[in-house]
Symmetry: C2
């Protein structure tokens, strides 16, 4: 029992040290880093593809793409000429700070203002790990139901903004927006919530404006 606790502390300590090193790099290079967390298929990569259109000429951004296996998402972004690296966890359910740190150093940092990390698709584990980011952002698809903030509260508690994705599907879902917003509010008070559809380019502007302001003020 004693050994188990010791191992856990060592791992967490190492993670925090790497996160601190990442924060130093970000400060030196004047870069904002956000950590996008959501379920598999919540639309995280589609969101990044669309952000590019809205940020063009305003912020230069790169992406660290976290996945268990495959380089599919990084390939999607690379075709858009976004600087991107793929982080493979080889079966693990979240990104750790050390992996993020080394991948960050390989991006062209002098040419970037913003780094967006897309974490492994998972509402539980990624919320527990500090990777040196300025903000965690929760992405929840309206197809997942209204109650996810109550069922996975840590992520919503840790997030500085919440994105409700795929709102173009609302007419076809038994989804009650007021119930969902009340659940988010119960967990995280007045966190900003951005309802949008990357697929239909709806609601993107408000979210990108928040991102620009956050990047300046952080």
């Amino acid at each position: 029992m004693k050994q188990e606790i010791k191992v856990y502390r060592n791992l967490m300590g190492a993670n925090e040290e790497w996160a601190a090193k990442t924060r130093e790099v970000l400060k030196e290079k004047k870069i904002t880093m956000i950590n996008i967390i959501g379920s598999p298929g919540a639309g995280k990569t589609a969101l990044l593809e669309k952000i590019q259109t809205f940020l063009k000429g305003r912020l230069r951004f790169g992406v660290l793409e976290g996945d268990v296996e495959t380089t599919r998402d990084a390939e999607r972004l690379a075709t858009l000429q976004i600087p991107v690296s793929q982080l493979l966890t080889d079966g693990a359910c979240h990104l750790e700070a050390k992996l993020v740190h080394y991948a960050l150093l390989d991006l062209p940092l002098d040419e970037l203002d913003l780094v967006i990390v897309e974490n492994v698709g998972n509402l539980v584990c990624p919320a527990e790990f500090d990777i040196g980011e300025h903000a965690k952002i929760a992405v929840l698809s309206v197809t997942e139901g209204e109650d996810k903030a109550l069922k996975y509260p840590l992520l919503f508690r840790e997030s500085k903004a919440v994105i409700l994705s795929k709102i173009d599907l609302l007419p076809y879902l038994p989804f009650q927006m007021d119930v969902c917003l009340a659940a988010v509010k119960q967990i995280k008070g007045d966190v900003p919530v951005f309802a949008l559809s990357a697929y239909k380019s709806e609601g993107m502007q408000a979210w990108v404006d928040w991102l620009l302001t956050f990047s300046e003020k952080k």
Copy 2:
């Protein structure tokens, strides 16, 4: 390094021992147990609500409902008069065999033919753990995209059937069914795939027929 490996082995060993105990109970009581695994909001609970209608008079079933926090899903099933217990992981991302074992013993086993475990919403971690079940079943919502079998291969490799849920939304999605089925086939060959909508009661019969046959033959 040596300590870390030792702790991991101890934990896995214990999990397998509890899974073996569960298998003994299931054998003695002639009960089939399946382990439903899918993303948050993939429609796992909705599927269980609907299964009841189709199994009525054919198989008596109970549910072990796994969640990180809250008893919301168990409450949904309890209103349908399904014997159900809630398993809370208190932040952990999957169900372990010991928790499942004790919860199983508290169900009215002499009155059941089938126990359905709904795991924590997560495509990564639950796939790694044997809880003594006869089959893992992957649930993938068509809203999550075609590529999930490639991105989370362990779950699909471990599953004896795949459910493609929420097909009532297909007309509104850029989802290519043939691409999705090819991805599943690439990972798991000729695993049976059931495309259905619990919400609209479409495609339920084929899945329930498979479940009945599996319960007899297992």
